[in-house]
């Protein structure tokens, strides 16, 4: 057995390892067929191979074997026989082990591959059978379909035949109907003719018949419903009837014509209005849109419009064809213009829309802002709502005394503040009142002072008077002049306020208020005063008083103004004096 392997080895080149290993495998299997088939790695077989007795043979055998396989020799030839080289043995063993491992690896790989290919094959077989089944099925189907097609074709053929038959039938029937119809018509005509003849005959017979004739009994004739007598039938009646007929027809046509004319006029009016509207719509916009570029064309159109207007005006009156044509043409023109205008507007609108799209970004921002603000508002609203709720809760819970007291405090505080303000205002008012009162009292005091002075004056004056009445008038003259001087002084003082009336008025208005309060105490005295002033001249007109007064005043070079005041209006003079008294 090893010979054969050797032969193989000799023939093959021992270069590639794989080949070698396979060869070795082969050799192994060939060398040790029995153990290798069962378990190639079990030691006992190896141990059986070498025993104590045949070591040298084994060595030599192995050496030979190894050398034949291309490994370095295990033994070195020495004089006392071959000697086992341990290193070489070990190297060889290692090499063999390596080879063996590699062999195992490949075996495993091949086995895996084998399994894989086996499963693959199984799968392929399975699919093959399935496909075969499918094929069978489709073949069967195909045959079924073919059969059905055949059947259908047969049916179609039969139906075609049927159709043809039916068509023929229909044609036949139609022809029958037609022939019947003609027959029927013919028969009917014949019958009708016969019927007519019979009628004729019957008519004749009935007319000729004597026994039962038509009778007409009338008590007396009645007049015509229109009260006229019936006319004789002459040639004229026919003409009259014709005439009347045509008259009615003409009337009808007339009325219809009128209606149509009216309708036409209405429609024309509508057209006119439409046209006018169109012109008004189109004309003002023209310049703004076409601009200066199309100035010449604009002029042209405007002239056209004028023309059109004229023509339409004409057409309203003349309804001749030409005018109508013009009107419709103008309308058409306007319409076209309007259409183009609208189209232009449309395109502009679309442009604007595009532009709007361009401005979309700020819009978005805006929207975002809006959303944000809305959200905020919502938040605040919620906030307010919760606050309200809380407040409500607190109010609703009566057990919460603290808050109640707090609230009460709040209210009290508010009330207090309000009261304080009120108090302040009252205080101010009070102050004002007091100031006024003080003024009044002062004025009253002043008045009483004045009164006293005046009383004194009067007393002196009365005394003077009294003294003047006494026989010692001459002696009293100097005193009299004194009093006059006093009066003149008063007059002088009166001149002053007259020169400044505005000032006086002021003081007057001021004093008027003050005196109104003081008047109850004052009036009697003033009245007395007045009376005395008045009484004195009345009682003694001979007395020099007014005239003397005036003369005296003149003598003292008093302006005429004053004199006039004194003489002409005593009352006014008095008021002046009164005023003066007040103002002093």
């Amino acid at each position: 057995m090893p010979e054969s392997s050797l032969e193989i080895k000799d023939t093959s080149c021992s270069s590639s390892r794989y080949r070698m290993s396979s060869l070795r495998q082969y050799s192994q299997s060939s060398v040790l067929p029995l153990p290798m088939t069962r378990n190639p790695y079990t030691m006992p077989t190896i141990s059986a191979f070498c025993t104590e007795d045949n070591v040298s043979e084994c060595i030599s055998y192995i050496n030979r074997e190894v050398s034949s396989l291309g490994f370095p020799l295990l033994c070195t030839e020495s004089n006392n026989g071959p000697e086992l080289n341990l290193v070489a043995v070990l190297n060889n063993v290692y090499n063999l082990l390596q080879l063996h491992r590699r062999c195992l690896q490949t075996v495993e790989d091949i086995e895996v591959e084998q399994v894989k290919s086996n499963s693959n094959m199984d799968y392929l077989q399975l699919s093959n059978t399935r496909l075969k089944d499918q094929l069978e099925l489709s073949k069967r189907e195909n045959t079924g379909l073919l059969e059905r097609e055949r059947q259908l074709q047969l049916k179609v053929k039969s139906l075609h035949n049927c159709l043809k038959n039916e068509k023929e039938e229909v044609q036949k029937l139609q022809s029958i109907i037609a022939s019947r119809a003609t027959q029927y018509n013919h028969d009917m005509k014949r019958k009708e003719r016969e019927f007519g003849k019979l009628k004729e005959r019957l008519n004749q017979l009935l007319i000729d018949k004597k026994d039962k004739k038509q009778t007409f009994e009338v008590l007396n004739y009645v007049g015509r419903s229109d009260g006229k007598r019936s006319l004789w039938k002459t040639g004229k009646t026919e003409a009259r009837h014709e005439g009347e007929m045509y008259k009615t027809l003409l009337n009808d046509y007339d009325s219809r014509h009128k209606d149509l004319l009216m309708e036409n006029a209405e429609l024309k009016k509508v057209l006119q209005q439409m046209k006018r509207d169109m012109v008004t719509i189109l004309s003002p916009r023209k310049p703004s849109q076409s601009g200066e570029k199309h100035d010449d064309s604009l002029e042209q159109t405007s002239s056209e419009e004028d023309e059109v207007c004229d023509s339409s005006r004409e057409s309203l009156e003349l309804s001749c064809e030409h005018a109508r044509e013009q009107l419709t043409n103008s309308i058409r023109q306007q319409w076209r213009r309007l259409k183009s205008h609208v189209e232009r507007l449309d395109s502009q609108a679309s442009l604007v829309g595009e532009r709007a799209n361009m401005n979309a970004i700020p819009k978005e921002v805006h929207e975002e802002e809006m959303d944000r603000l809305k959200l905020e508002i919502q938040q605040y609203k919620d906030f307010i709502h919760t606050q309200q709720q809380l407040l409500q809760q607190q109010l609703n819970s009566p057990c919460d005394d603290e808050t109640a007291s707090l609230l009460n405090d709040c209210y009290m505080q508010e009330e207090k503040e309000r009261l304080k303000e009120d108090w302040k205002s009252f205080e101010e008012k009070r102050k004002n009142f007091e100031a006024e009162r003080r003024n009044f009292t002062e004025a009253a005091i002043r008045l009483s002072h004045e009164r006293k002075a005046f009383e004194e004056d009067r007393a002196t004056w009365l005394k003077h008077q009294f003294l003047n009445l006494t026989p010692f008038g001459d002696q009293m003259k100097p005193q009299m002049s004194k009093s006059q001087s006093a009066l003149s002084g008063w007059a002088e003082s009166e001149v002053r306020p007259m020169s400044t009336p505005a000032k006086l008025n002021k003081s007057l208005s001021h004093t008027a208020f003050s005196t109104s309060r003081a008047s109850p105490a004052k009036t009697p005295s003033t009245a007395d005063l007045y009376r005395t002033h008045r009484l004195i001249p009345e009682k003694s007109p001979s007395t020099i008083h007014p005239k003397q007064d005036s003369s005296i005043l003149r003598n003292d070079d008093v302006p005429a103004q004053l004199r006039h005041v004194n003489g002409g209006a005593n009352c006014r003079a008095y008021t002046f004096t009164g005023d003066r008294i007040g103002s002093i």
């Binding site: 004739y221 009645v222 229109d226």
Partner: protein, 449 residues
């Protein structure tokens, strides 16, 4: 007991005539007092007022007799005996002084004059749906004739029966002639086998021809609007076609569909109400009349939400004169509305708006409509369905009125008084005068028996 009743309102509207067998009773419309009583020779079959309401014509066809009575002179009489030639139809001429008698077999038309006792004969009158028509003003008469299997139309002047025009018409079998209300156009239509309308001028010129379709049953009815502006043609296909008076072309077409889903139309449905069930929520107007007995179920109208399915009877088309197609049409006096009835929807009356040219209202009755007529003065439609109720429609709404009569009073037909103030309801054995008052109706019934 053999009983026949004829009644008629005189044209001048104050008098009404009724006849029972041999007797002719003339009553005042307002008081129902008997004004005159005449006795005829035989049972009266037909009766007609003269246009001036001075005479009444009573025809006894079996005897071939016509008797005329005068209201002014009760003792005046006139008797026309057609003799053995027979009589099938008798009518007044528009002037009320001539009587036109059609003899048996339509041998001729005899014209008798009450003024001159003159007799004229017109030969070859055609026996058809409407062979004779007088123009509205009473000036002309159109007569359909048949000679040598051809149709002719003769136009006579009613004044002296002068033949004005005589022309052949292009019809297979002429079915009728009708003057337009203005008397200037004559509509001539073919028999139902062919859809054909011919329009002739008064002077015999053919103005226009109209044909909607072929090979199917054609025209069933025809109606002129009072203004002569529209010609409505009802046909067996259940459609109404409206022609205009200028071009004589079709203006519009009104279909009568089984399902109504026109949102502009109002569908009134009559609902019979048992006395127990008392839900009056949807009633438009309800009249609770006095005599509601067990037999008289009350009814009211309900507005149906759209779409509405109209009951349709499938007609037997194999039989002659099938119940299909538009059989009756009527324009209101103001030309605004058109009422139609389609025979295979016998319970339904359709009202069309002629301004809008569309459907306006649909009245769905519980039983088949017998007759409908427009108020001669107002846009108001009265209809009856052969029960004890009168139905009225106006643009404002719909009313169902119970006729307060004992027994089974069944309204067979209705006729308006020419003033539109009253209405005669004719039953089988009774008639009822219905007086309309502003806002309410008040009835009074008159038992003639």
């Amino acid at each position: 007991m053999p009983f026949s009743e004829e009644w008629l309102l005189s044209g001048h509207s104050t008098i009404k005539a009724t006849c029972v067998q041999y007797r002719l009773v003339v009553r005042d419309v307002n008081t129902l007092q008997i004004l005159h009583l005449y006795t005829c020779l035989d049972q009266i079959v037909h009766m007609e007022w003269s246009s001036d309401s001075l005479f009444i014509l009573c025809a006894m066809y079996k005897r071939g007799l016509v008797q005329v009575w005068s209201l002014e002179q009760p003792d005046w009489y006139c008797k026309i005996d057609e003799g053995s030639i027979g009589l099938v139809s008798s009518r007044w001429s528009p002037d009320g002084r001539h009587i036109l008698n059609t003899t048996e077999f339509h041998l001729r038309v005899t014209v008798w004059s009450l003024c001159t006792k003159a007799v004229s004969y017109i030969k070859y009158p055609k026996a058809c749906q409407k062979g004779i028509d007088f123009s509205r003003d009473g000036c002309y008469m159109a007569l359909a004739e048949r000679r040598d299997c051809r149709d002719y139309v003769s136009v006579f002047v009613c004044d002296d029966w002068h033949l004005l025009r005589h022309f052949e018409t292009e019809t297979q079998d002429l079915a009728g002639v009708e003057w337009s209300p203005n008397g200037c156009v004559l509509a001539v239509w073919d028999s139902c086998l062919e859809y054909k309308v011919l329009l002739y001028s008064l002077d015999g010129r053919l103005l226009s021809t109209f044909s909607a379709y072929e090979w199917s049953l054609g025209i069933k009815s025809l109606a002129w609007s009072p203004s002569s502006q529209f010609l409505a043609i009802g046909s067996y296909d259940g459609k109404v076609r409206i022609l205009n008076h200028i071009t004589w072309k079709k203006v519009t077409e009104f279909d009568h569909p089984a399902s109504i889903n026109n949102t502009k139309a109002v569908v009134y449905k009559e609902v019979e109400r048992k006395p127990v069930v008392g839900s009056a929520d949807l009633s438009i107007q309800q009249h609770i009349t006095m005599g509601s007995t067990l037999f008289n179920t009350q009814s009211k109208y309900e507005i149906c939400p759209l779409p509405v399915q109209v009951p349709v009877v499938k007609p037997d088309l194999d039989r002659a004169n099938p119940k299909v197609g538009v059989s009756s049409m009527a324009f209101s006096s103001d030309n605004r509305y058109l009422a139609t009835k389609n025979d295979n929807m016998a319970c339904v009356v359709w009202v069309w708006d002629m301004q809008r040219l569309g459907l306006l209202a649909v009245l769905e009755q519980t039983s088949a409509v017998r007759c409908f007529q427009w108020d001669p003065r107002r846009p108001r439609l009265a209809l009856c369905t052969g029960n004890a109720k009168l139905y009225l429609w106006s643009p404002a709404g719909c009313v169902s009125v119970q006729v307060p009569a004992e027994g089974g009073f069944q309204v067979q037909s209705v006729t308006w008084h020419c003033s539109g103030d009253s209405l005669i309801l004719l039953g089988k054995e009774q008639l009822c005068l219905c007086y309309m008052e502003v806002g309410e109706e008040e009835e009074e019934d008159d038992d003639v028996k």
